[in-house]
Amino acid sequence: MVVLGLALLRRRRPAAEDANSEERLTTAVSAAVAATVVIIAGLTIASFYTTRSIGVPKSAALTITVRGQQWWWQVFYAGSGATSGFQTANEIHIPVRTDVQIRLEGADVIHSFWVPSLAGKQDLIPGRSSSLLLRAEKPGVYRGQCAEFCGLQHSHMAILVIAEAPADYERWAASQREDAMVPADMDAAAGQVAFLAKPCAACHTVRGTAANGTSGPDLTHISARQTIGAGLLETTRGSLAAWIADPQTLKPGNNMPMVPLTSVELQNISAYMESLK
């Protein structure tokens, strides 16, 4: 196909040939078409070989289920035998140099799971399940993003894949399995009371408390995650307070309603959130 470009550049030579060059033209065009056929066939075969090499193997060491929600990622780590499973959001931890199978489910509309540096993308389609293989060779934080247009906040639907040494990964997983910490200081304790009394608990789960809502992300270890709002803001007490005070200005159209709170309640709840390591 690159030959096309060359032919195009050469074209501008004044061509004052006679009509009897018709046959040579036929030969040239036929040859060019034949060359195209050969090149195309070669490319296609190469493409098939590549496709073959990126398939999902029959068994993976770890399986993580990711559900796409408008507009965040719900992540399930299954338990096995004695260890219990747990839930997190917008952040996946994986051990390095291990094949990790990501099972993808669509909860509402079609999303697409895409971590460019680790693998190609795969759609999350309601009513269907698909899967994808991740394998990180080097530890690090890999950013991913929803690639299929999924509504108002398609732009703010990022996911972090954190690849770490197997020991670090095990430590992280163990801490995630724990229930939420009991608030240590006064503010956080008051925040917990307010959290449970206000509608927060209707949508969010904090394991170890009465809060067991399922329509929002699991907040049991929210402060251990790097970002809130699906990659929108870094997790700090300030950003947590800003988010709780007015989620609709920070991420217009998202599914968290503005809950009327007094400034003291807001302060306490964000202190409580920050304490959920």
């Binding site: 309601p126 009394a197 206000k198 509608p199 329509s215 599914n255 309603p257 009327p260």
Partner: protein, 148 residues
């Protein structure tokens, strides 16, 4: 604008021609609030459960918006909690509009959209419910006491 209860609806209610009953956006918001605030835990998808049904055509306190708003805002005896601290008054009106739509026996011009899930009853946009869902007047749950 005296309407018999305190906590009057937002000014826009009358200015815009009762938008909470006749505006698809507000009904959709009400539908989201219905899910977010766990109404379904007691009232199911409108067929009732722990709490009374909306589909059976019987309103314990009448089908008017003000009384539905009052029920949501202040709660009612026998288990209906008060939501006045959990929602803004506007949200309560939106939710009330939606609740009224669930039990509507005459078709409304507007409706929230149906859900992509298993259909256990006629969707809101298929009103009136009675054509397809005629359970007759249901007995009041014993805990709810007699009709007022």
């Amino acid at each position: 604008m005296s309407n018999g209860i305190s906590g009057t609806p937002p000014e826009s209610y009358f200015a815009l021609g009762k938008p909470y009953e006749a505006d698809a956006y507000n009904l959709s918001q009400g539908k989201r609030l219905y899910a977010w605030f766990g109404c379904g835990i007691c009232h199911g998808d409108g067929r009732g459960g722990i709490g009374p049904s909306f589909l059976d055509g019987w309103w314990l306190y009448g089908p008017e918006m003000v009384s539905i708003v009052a029920s949501i805002r202040d709660g009612r005896p026998h288990g209906m909690p008060a939501f006045r601290d959990r929602m803004t008054i506007e949200q309560i009106w939106q939710l009330a509009g939606y609740v009224q739509t669930i039990g509507s026996y005459t078709p409304k011009v507007v409706a929230p959209s149906r859900n992509d899930e298993k259909q256990s009853r006629p969707a809101e946009n298929r009103g009136p419910a009675i054509i397809l869902f005629d359970v007759g007047p249901a007995a009041v749950h014993p805990d709810q006491g007699p009709s007022p």
